[in-house]
């Protein structure tokens, strides 16, 4: 039915199966959309946010998807600027994942601001003393970059590509993509950093506060570094999940190994810096503000030393060591495990830097302020996940996302019955028997 739209040389599932999948994920999407409209029409009283928790589940989800979407800018930087040409086999998918992550982040912010019709105020009446203004600027501009990077993929659809102008535009955009990729890397460096900087400058919150280098707290650099390290791991994990679902090999092993190795070394250097930062904060910064490490990890039902260990060791040191060890990295199961641990680690880091910061008592008369999201918050956080799955499904079906797919999964030859029928047809169309070649 839609075979004319499917890329050449690849096989896709029947349309009914595709529609069924879309329907299931679409139902989850509708649940999220319903909760979104509740938040917009009834207000933020639909959430469990309060005076303690101005930042809650949405901001965690925002920071997490932005970190996970970092694979797009870093892979683009490696391919277009540093010249790791082998990454051309996965760059399309990294761009798609980045596009989903950043559009999700903007969607969540549109719900979080309460009055999305006034979103433009942040540009028109910009508070030029706020790191969040820089985040808003860079986030919007970088989303524009990702859209520009995604457009040629859409235009490469089999039918669209037949239009000469579209074909020429795709070709020209590919030729000049390095300019956009460089701009994207510049913008990403600043907004990833400023998201971390927001936590690091909170001098009234000793759990988050960090020492500075000029005007930038260490968290500025750690956030950028972690996005560049963990983002590619998320790209690898989503690729693996896609391969499992489609039961196909979609990206060459050499490309996977290269990206895993780079991600591993970035992670190793990041987690080393993060551990040094944590030790300095625990032994010098926090005590200078009247707190001991124990104050941040006791007398509450959730946040114990386990969360520190899970973030640094389970989600940092272990996946980093796994990814930099060639023997472990080349085992697909262990590689998948390492990427799962890495994704868990960076999400936990963002949780700690958003929600544990809010929970820790600051004044001597304060107690731990715990927070549990409302179902509307959960539904609107699941919404981008459903949206992402749908966009991946549609893009995978109709666009040439994986350049090696046809080569890695050659189509089976026609069945004998069809082949026989073809032969008969050819015989019917052929010259009548008994004719000389010239007559034929």
């Amino acid at each position: 039915m839609d075979s004319a739209l499917i890329p050449k040389g690849v096989k896709r599932c029947p349309i009914w199966q595709f529609a069924l999948g879309l329907g299931v994920v679409g139902a989850v999407l509708l649940w999220g959309v319903y909760a979104m409209f509740l938040c917009w029409f009834k207000g933020l009283n639909q959430t469990n946010m309060n005076d303690y928790y101005g930042f809650a589940l949405w901001i965690w989800a925002d920071l997490a998807v932005i970190a996970l979407g970092g694979g797009a800018f870093f892979t683009g930087l490696l391919k277009y600027i540093i010249g790791k040409d082998d990454l051309k086999n996965i760059i399309n998918y990294a761009v798609l994942i980045g596009f989903i992550c950043y559009s999700s982040a903007l969607l969540i912010l549109a719900i979080d601001v309460g009055q999305p019709l006034r979103s433009w105020f942040i540009f028109w009446h910009a508070n030029v003393h706020s790191m969040l203004t820089e985040v808003a600027f860079c986030l919007s501009c970088y989303f524009a970059v990702l859209t520009i990077e995604y457009i040629p993929l859409v235009l490469e659809n089999r039918q669209l590509d037949k239009i000469p102008f579209v074909h020429n535009l795709t070709h020209t955009m590919h030729e000049h993509m390095a300019i956009f990729a460089a701009t994207g890397a510049f913008l990403s460096f600043f907004h990833q950093g400023s998201l971390g900087g927001v936590a690091g400058v909170l001098f009234g919150r000793p759990f988050a506060y960090r020492e500075h280098l000029f005007i930038w707290p260490w968290t500025f650099f750690l956030f950028t570094w972690s996005a560049a390290a963990y983002g590619p791991s998320f790209t690898l994990l989503v690729t693996r999940i896609t391969e499992k679902i489609t039961r196909k090999k979609l990206v060459k092993d050499t490309t996977i190994q290269l990206l895993a190795k780079i991600s591993g070394w970035m992670m190793f250097t990041y987690i080393t810096a993060k551990i040094i930062d944590t030790v300095y904060w625990a032994t010098t910064t926090a005590p200078s503000l009247g707190f001991s490490l124990k104050d941040f990890y006791s007398n509450n039902p959730v946040y114990g030393y386990w969360i520190l260990g899970a973030e640094l060791i389970l989600g940092g040191v272990i996946p980093a060591l796994m990814l930099i060890t060639p023997k472990i990295r080349s085992n697909r199961l262990l590689l998948t495990l390492a990427t799962i641990l890495a994704v868990m680690g960076v999400c936990l880091n963002r949780w700690v830097m958003v929600l544990q910061v809010m929970a820790v008592p600051v004044m001597s008369f304060d107690t731990w302020a715990m927070y549990y999201p409302s179902w509307q918050e959960v539904a609107t956080t699941v919404l981008p996940v459903a949206y992402g799955i749908i966009l991946i499904m549609i893009s995978y079906r109709y666009l040439p996302i994986f350049p090696n797919e046809a080569e890695l999964n050659p189509l089976e030859p026609e069945t004998p019955v069809v082949a026989a029928a073809d032969t008969e047809e050819a015989a019917e169309e052929g010259p009548e028997p008994g004719l000389t070649p010239a007559e034929a």
Partner: protein, 52 residues
């Protein structure tokens, strides 16, 4: 947002923040304009008949 807005002040914060925003937007806008014009010219010259 613009120097002609009533709340604009010629200080370092405005110049860095808004200058950075307009710089990034200019690169993206100019880049896309260039690509579109080049594609129009190529199409007018009869290129693009060969498909992938």
């Amino acid at each position: 947002m613009f120097p002609f807005s009533f709340e604009w002040i010629w200080d370092m914060s405005h110049i860095i923040f808004m200058g950075g925003l307009w710089y990034a937007l200019s690169i993206l806008g100019a880049g896309m304009t260039f690509c579109i014009i080049k594609a129009i010219l190529a199409t007018a010259n009869g290129k693009g008949g060969h498909h992938h």
